[in-house]
Structure formats: structure tokens, C-alpha cells
């Protein structure tokens, strides 16, 4: 899923881009790869990748995000360093972009430095979310994102879940709907993101490969003490 040098994660608001970006960055770092994660989220004020800066720092992931007081700001800040990293990428680069067309607009401002080859632009889809209730909704979302960002989408990531209430049926049905949306768009479903507790019960039933997730983005009442994070991602200490 993160095979290319640059992976751009886009998709509708609340589809799980930040969770997948954090998991992807930590997985790559654990395998010894050099990783840069850019938090380009200008849409949501909480639960942004920057709140996981301690976890990322400990894993050796280079985080590009607003600093100082601006970590917490609800302002559309694009840190200029992202342009340098995209011009001369070293190791893998993951861009965590804000939700919907509104969030994807950010990409339009950096199209001049996005690589012509070696880049995947992946739309994360969760069919449990009200904005994409069915494949037609996902198709509309992909077209909206392409129109606003002026970047071509190269694939879909299926991420249909219901948090604690997720069942194998929800995951498999979501992946099947993603394939239907992909067929209409002529795009592959590169993976289905599945929580580690459910991976064994859906493996084999999925119409695509599997990307196993640890849940990192959590409200404070669900957090284990050892996770040190900032902002109401998760917990503050």
C-alpha cells in the first residue's frame, strides 16, 4: 500500500485517513525505512496526526506539521518544508490530507512539487459514514476530490468499520462495495484496512489484500497509559 515513494491519503471527512497514515508510517519505520509523515489536515481541529508526535518521534518518523502554539490552531497552515521534502524525497513520504474536497484543495497548492511518477493517491472509503453510504457516494467523492485537488486518484483503500461494533460482515461488505466503486472508476482497491483483532476472521473473505491496523486514534477513555500523545487525539499527559 505504501510501495511508492510518495503516498497521498485523501477521502471523505472521518473516513480514517489519519489512522491509516499513522499506522503506515509506524509500520514502515519498524521495518527500518526512512519515513516522513506530513499532516496537511486543514479540516478537523482534533484527532490530527500531529497529536501523535511523541509516538512518531519515538519510532523515528519525521513529522511535518505546524509547531509551537500552532500545533493546536484551527488555521489552514501548510508548513513550507513539505515542498522541500517533495522536491527531494528521502525514503518514503506519506501525506495525510484533510477530509472531503475542502481538505483536498490543499493538494492543488503543491501540485508543482508532487512527483510525476512514483506516487500513489489513495482515497480512503468507509461505507458506514453518512457521506458515503454506497458505491455511488464513493464515486462522487473521488470525482469531487480529483476536481478540487487537480490530482489523479490511483486507487481506493476500503476502511469500512463501526469502531467497537465492527463485525466481519461489515468489513467484507465494505470491501465488496469498494470494489464496485473501483470498477466504475477504473481504479484498483489496493487494500482493506482491518483492525488486528479482526484480521484472522476476515482474511480469505476479502476481495483484495489486507492492511492490518492498530487503533491509535482514540478518545481519552479508551487509551492505555503507555501511549504518550498530545491534543485530544487519544490522551494528554
Amino acid at each position: 500500500m505504501f510501495s511508492r515513494q510518495v503516498t497521498v491519503l485523501v477521502g471523505h471527512f472521518g473516513s480514517g485517513k489519519t489512522e491509516i497514515a499513522l499506522n503506515g508510517a509506524l509500520d514502515l519505520a519498524a521495518r527500518g525505512e526512512r519515513v516522513t509523515l506530513a499532516d496537511l489536515d486543514v479540516v478537523k481541529p482534533y484527532f490530527r496526526a500531529r497529536s501523535a508526535r511523541f509516538i512518531l518521534a519515538e519510532a523515528g518518523v519525521d513529522l511535518i506539521a505546524p509547531e509551537g502554539e500552532n500545533v493546536y490552531a484551527d488555521l489552514p497552515i501548510i508548513v513550507p518544508r513539505v515542498r522541500d521534502v517533495l522536491r527531494r524525497p528521502q525514503g518514503k513520504v506519506i501525506l495525510d490530507v484533510g477530509g472531503d474536497g475542502t481538505g483536498a484543495r490543499v493538494l492543488g497548492s503543491i501540485t508543482d512539487v508532487l512527483p510525476k511518477t512514483g506516487m500513489n493517491v489513495l482515497v480512503v472509503v468507509n461505507f458506514s459514514r453518512p457521506s458515503t453510504p454506497d458505491p455511488a457516494g464513493a464515486v462522487a467523492m473521488v470525482r469531487e476530490i480529483e476536481r478540487v485537488s487537480r490530482v489523479r486518484v490511483t486507487g481506493l483503500i476500503s476502511n469500512t468499520h463501526m469502531l467497537e461494533e465492527t463485525t466481519p460482515e461489515i468489513v467484507v461488505s465494505g470491501a465488496e462495495q469498494a470494489v464496485r466503486a473501483g470498477n466504475e472508476l477504473g481504479l484498483p482497491v489496493v487494500a482493506s484496512a482491518v483492525h488486528q483483532d479482526m484480521a484472522s476472521s476476515v482474511n480469505g473473505a476479502l476481495p483484495c489484500s489486507i492492511f492490518v491496523l492498530n487503533r491509535i486514534v482514540k478518545p481519552p477513555f479508551e487509551v492505555q497509559p503507555q501511549r504518550r500523545t498530545m491534543g485530544p487525539l487519544f490522551v494528554l499527559n
Binding site: F47, D74, H161, E222, V223, L236, N237
Partner: protein
């Protein structure tokens, strides 16, 4: 309807639509912008109207007009924006208008910050604005409960002809959980037709005039006593709370509301594993406050612990509930910092060990 995975703001917006609210007037402020955002696209789908007003003052006065015409209407804001609406909320109470106001609290005072807080407890329960009025205030701890309470809020507002506030910390606006809406939901109150509404006079009834100005002191006194009767009924009939944890006797009793109560529940479950028994009362209505429930549950333990995202605003109500001085302990985080389960665990253990300092009574 099948369950959906919704952000709190989306669920609050959808709950309003499901409750038959077709009018929303508001002004942006973090961390509740996704409520107006959702309704800006949802209202046209149901033939309703969404207006981004020029200010919070304008928004609340648009609610006054729409409610006066008998329509279900809602606004949402966050702490500084609610302060700006305060005058209009008092006018709605004075003119007996059913309006629903959502406050997704952020840290203050002043502009403060955009992260979660519960520092508007006094404002919500005691001092929203001028004049002798009360605000029925509902405080959800989950996204499903936020959706349910918003729908109830419309019924309560109509029944009492009074403003009702749904009050949550920033997490209630921003976090995501599965939510279900029930198509066969019935109003929680018997609601008579709004014959008092100003819908155009056709000489078939007395004129319906929406007004909060009473120059004759005898008339205003009568009006104030009439309002007081409604508030007495709310105190008698609308108290809501939930209790958790130890049933018979407990080492410590926790009082907490909103998402903080969920942090406390995580702590209570962990403490139970270690053989430490903790009970909790979670006020769901902040006003009317569940004084009786707090008193009864507090009698199970020697020590009481209040946990809040404020410097201890709810302690006053807990003291009133207890009737006589009792050891009260307090834990808080401020400024948008959040209480963690292990902080609550440590505090309970400190209380048991006698190393936690009590809150001093004046």
C-alpha cells in the same frame, strides 16, 4: 434506520432534522463548526432553511423570531459564542419561546483555546444571563446520547415553552461513534398545538403577541411567578442521572458528567480488578441537578470525588446535595488538557491512603 458511524456534530445535526427542526441559524466557531456544516447541506434536502447569520447575536434573535412563529429551531455554538447569545436566551425565556441551543464547550475564559472543557457549568446552570430564568440543560456522554438528547430537547422546549441547552465538551462535537435513529420515535411529552404562536391573526382568536416587556410591575410579578411554576415542575419531573459501579458500599463515590464520566468509568473498572470499590453518579441534567441521587449514592462511602474539566464549578451543587459537610476531593484538568483514567485511579488510591487533600469548605 441502520446504524451509521457519525461525528458528534453530524449526529447532533441529524438529530435536529429527525426531531422535525427545519430551521438552523448559527455563526461559526471551533469546535462545533461541523454542526452548521452538516445542516447547511442537510436542511435543503428536507425543505428546511440554513442561515449563516452575521453574528451570534443575530442567530439567537433569528431563533426568537422563528420560535415565535411556532417553528422548531436550533442554533449551536461554543463557549464565547454562547456568551454573545446570552441576552437573546434571556429574551427567549422571558417570551416563553421553545428554542434548542447546543454548546460544545471549549476552554476559556475569553477566547481561551479550541480544546475540550467543561468550564461553562456555572454559565449553563446558574448565570446564563439577566433576569429570573432557568435553562434546562442536558449533558450527553456519548454520541448516541447526544443524538437522543437533542431530540428530547425539542420536546422539552415545546412542552415547557422554555430554552433547552444541550451541553457537551469539545469531544462530543468531534469524536466518532456508531449512532442509530429510530423511525418510530414518539415525543417524550404530550405536546398541545402551539395556539400561542404568532402565525397571522384572522380575527378568530386573541392576538398572539410574542413579548418579554412587561411595564406594569404587577403583571411582571405575575409573569415571574408563572415562570417559577414551570421551573418547579422541571425540578420535579425532569431530573436525569445515571449511576455506575459499586452497589452496596463503596470506598469512594465519584460525581462526573459528560465524557469525563467515561474516563472515570474506565478507571472504576480498572480499580474493581484491584478490589477497590467505586460508585459514580453521572448527572445527565446539569439543571435540574440530581441532588437526591447524589445524596443517596454518596451515603455509600465516606469520601466523595468530583472530577471535572473546570476548577470545580460542580462542587457547589455536590455540597448542596450532601446537606452536611462531608469530605470532598477534587481532580481536574484545564485549558483543553483531558483527564486520563490513570489520573483518576491514582486519585482514588490517594484518597484511600489518606494522602489526598480535601477541598476546603469556606
Amino acid at each position: 434506520m441502520a446504524k451509521k458511524l457519525m461525528k458528534g456534530a453530524e449526529a447532533i445535526g441529524e438529530a435536529a432534522v429527525q426531531a422535525g427542526c427545519h430551521l438552523f441559524f448559527g455563526y461559526p466557531i471551533t469546535p462545533q463548526n461541523e454542526i452548521p456544516e452538516y445542516l447547511s447541506s442537510r436542511m435543503p434536502q428536507v425543505g428546511g432553511a440554513f442561515v449563516q447569520a452575521e453574528s451570534e447575536v443575530a442567530s439567537i434573535n433569528m431563533l426568537y423570531g422563528a420560535a415565535g412563529a411556532g417553528e422548531r429551531v436550533m442554533t449551536s455554538s461554543s463557549s464565547p459564542g454562547i456568551s454573545l447569545m446570552a441576552e437573546g436566551i434571556s429574551y427567549c425565556a422571558g417570551a416563553e419561546l421553545p428554542v434548542v441551543i447546543v454548546n460544545i464547550m471549549r476552554a476559556g475564559p475569553g477566547l481561551g483555546g479550541i480544546l475540550p472543557s467543561q468550564a461553562d457549568y456555572f454559565q449553563t446552570t446558574k448565570g446564563m444571563a439577566h433576569g429570573d430564568f432557568r435553562l434546562l440543560a442536558l449533558a450527553p456522554w456519548s454520541i448516541q446520547e447526544a443524538a437522543d438528547l437533542v431530540q428530547d430537547a425539542f420536546d422539552l422546549a415545546d412542552y415547557y415553552r422554555n430554552p433547552v441547552m444541550v451541553v457537551g465538551d469539545g469531544l462530543i462535537g468531534q469524536m466518532m461513534e456508531p449512532v442509530e435513529f429510530y423511525e418510530d420515535r414518539q415525543p417524550i411529552k404530550e405536546l398541545p398545538p402551539k395556539t400561542w404562536a404568532s402565525t397571522g391573526w384572522k380575527r378568530d382568536r386573541p392576538k398572539a403577541i410574542i413579548n418579554s416587556l412587561f411595564l406594569d410591575p404587577a403583571e411582571l410579578e405575575r409573569h415571574n411567578f408563572h415562570l417559577k411554576e414551570k421551573y418547579d415542575l422541571m425540578e420535579r419531573d425532569e431530573v436525569r442521572f445515571a449511576t455506575y459501579g459499586a452497589v452496596d458500599s463503596a470506598d469512594v463515590v465519584i460525581i462526573a458528567y459528560g465524557t469525563v464520566a467515561r474516563v472515570c468509568l474506565s478507571a472504576i473498572e480498572a480499580l474493581e480488578q484491584e478490589g477497590i470499590k467505586v460508585a459514580m453518579v453521572r448527572p445527565i441534567t446539569l439543571w435540574p441537578f440530581p441532588y437526591k441521587a447524589v445524596r443517596e449514592v454518596a451515603s455509600k462511602a465516606k469520601d466523595i470525588l468530583v472530577v471535572e474539566l473546570s476548577t470545580g464549578q460542580m462542587i457547589e451543587d455536590v455540597r448542596l446535595a450532601l446537606h452536611r459537610p462531608r469530605p470532598i476531593h477534587f481532580h481536574c484538568r484545564l485549558g483543553g488538557m483531558l483527564v486520563s483514567p490513570e489520573e483518576v485511579i491514582d486519585k482514588v488510591k490517594a484518597i484511600k491512603a489518606g494522602t489526598s487533600e480535601e477541598v476546603q469548605h469556606a
